[in-house]
């Protein structure tokens, strides 16, 4: 057998500093987190809210979170799996769905804080850059966009959610540089292109292309759309209806399921000392039995 020098010696392990747990899991960027949650000391206990947007393969999570020493508390949250309640059944992770989720969260928070009449936001989504104007009575709800570990590229769905929250009436410092439709050459946001993306225009044009050129691929790729009867032409009006439904009733609905009496276990339960000893004795018995059989065979 070739002699290989051990790469990770005992000394390596003794000196190894384990990163923070969420860094090990690759879920939290601590450099960004420190800068987002750090509150001015002369503001004492005033919470600093983050508008958190995270994407999974089939869902979008939008939350308003504030940080405390015991843990972050979520003020309000909206998921794209709630959108079927407002009439959107398919395409729950695209740019338009992100816009809807951000809009839902924004209206929900404003309703929760009883500011929804004062701050209507941008009712007719045009795709132009819109910032909330403070009214005389109360200042708008301020949050800071928390992207997580996503690479900021122009046209990312995260900024779709941001646009939804802005149009809902939240005050989130931003620039239009990363919205879909911003051209680097002109250094300007093309409001029409952005409007197209907000209403799923890019999805509709792809549907039309596939219907023309590759009908089988269209059937397989957009099967859910076809099942629900959504066609390229009625996508825009569908999203308009969803926006109106969200503005009408953004309140969160409590699920009727009772909370489980016993929490689901995701990891193995730790064995007691007696259990571990018993397991060892069992293993030794098994080894002895197998060893006895082998020696009988050999003889």
């Amino acid at each position: 057998m070739a002699f290989v020098k051990a790469q990770k010696t005992k000394a390596y392990f003794k000196r190894f500093q384990v990163p923070f747990k969420r860094r090990r899991e690759g879920k939290t960027d601590y450099r960004a987190r420190i800068r987002l949650t750090n509150q001015d000391k002369n503001k004492y206990n005033t919470p600093k809210y983050r508008f958190v947007v995270r994407f999974s393969n089939k869902d979008i999570t939008a939350q308003i979170v504030s940080a405390t020493i015991t843990g972050d508390t979520v003020l309000a949250s909206a998921y794209s799996h709630e959108l079927p309640r407002y009439g959107l059944e398919a395409g729950l992770t695209n740019y338009a769905a992100a816009y809807c989720t951000g809009l839902l969260l924004g209206r929900r928070v404003l309703k929760m804080l009883e500011m929804d009449d004062e701050y209507q936001g941008n009712v007719e989504a045009t795709g132009e850059d819109f910032s909330v104007e403070p009214t005389d009575t109360r200042r708008p709800f301020r949050a800071l966009l928390d992207i997580g570990l996503i690479r900021t590229t122009t046209g990312n769905r995260v900024f779709g959610a941001l646009k939804g929250a802005l149009d809902a009436g939240l005050d989130i410092p931003h620039s239009d540089k990363r919205f879909a439709g911003f051209s680097k050459d002109n250094k300007q946001l093309d409001a029409d292109v952005h409007h197209k993306y907000i209403y799923g225009g890019h999805v509709a044009s792809y549907m039309r292309i596939l219907m023309e050129d590759e009908p089988e691929k269209y059937q397989s790729h957009f099967s859910e759309y076809i099942k629900k009867g959504i066609e390229a032409d009625n996508i825009e009006s569908l999203y308009k209806k969803v926006h109106a439904a969200i503005r009408a009733d953004p309140a969160a609905k409590k699920s009727e399921k009772a909370p489980p009496t016993q929490h689901k276990r995701f990891n193995l339960k730790k064995l007691t000392y007696e259990e571990r000893k018993a397991k060892l004795i069992e293993r030794l018995h098994a080894l002895n039995a197998a060893g006895g059989a082998d020696s009988e065979d050999e003889d």
């Binding site: 000196r15 190894f16 500093q17 384990v18 990163p19 923070f20 601590y30 450099r31 987190r33 420190i34 949650t37 750090n38 509150q39 001015d40 000391k41 002369n42 004492y44 206990n45 940080a67 405390t68 020493i69």
Partner: protein, 164 residues
């Protein structure tokens, strides 16, 4: 080469981060709030270069007299010559920890208030003063056997048997 007297002279060990605790500092340091009048310990965090106090103040405890956006004003006693001066320094929150020096006092205050309220309700008079530890009470020694030890007369022959 002459000895240097720079601001961070002789701080190689005191300002260095502890073993396996380097890198990003945990968020609770940033989330704590400090009010004027709180007692704080000054402990330099070598990972953060801004708002570091001078090495003299490392390990000192003082009171908060000012709170700004990212830093805290701490009033620390310093002996200069034959007198003690109250020095006011500004330190970033990463180099400050809440002090537990008044914790025992605050707990005792609460307990005493509670005891006094109970005594008032019952109508009896109590003293909440702390008493110093007195002499230990007397006790009987148990299980002791007496062994009388007497010197034996010197025996030349026996003692020299070993080696001569």
């Amino acid at each position: 080469m002459p000895a240097g007297h720079g601001v961070r002279a002789r701080t190689r060990d005191s300002f260095s981060r502890p073993f396996r605790k380097k890198g990003y500092i945990p968020l609770s340091t940033y989330l704590r709030t400090y009010k004027i009048g709180d007692h704080v310990d000054v402990k330099v965090n070598g990972a953060v270069h801004k708002g570091m106090p001078h090495k003299f103040y490392h390990g000192r405890t003082g009171r908060v007299w000012n709170v700004t956006k990212r830093a805290i004003g701490v009033e620390v006693n310093k002996q200069v010559g034959n007198r003690i001066i109250r020095k006011r320094i500004h330190v970033r929150v990463e180099h400050v920890q809440p002090s537990r020096c008044t914790e025992e006092f605050k707990l005792r205050k609460l307990k005493n208030d509670q005891l006094k309220a109970e005594a008032k309700a019952k109508g009896e008079i109590i003293s909440t003063k702390r008493q110093p530890e007195g002499p230990k009470p007397g006790f009987m020694v148990e299980g002791a056997t007496l062994e009388t030890v007497t010197p034996i007369p010197y025996d030349v022959v026996n003692d020299l048997k070993g080696g001569y």
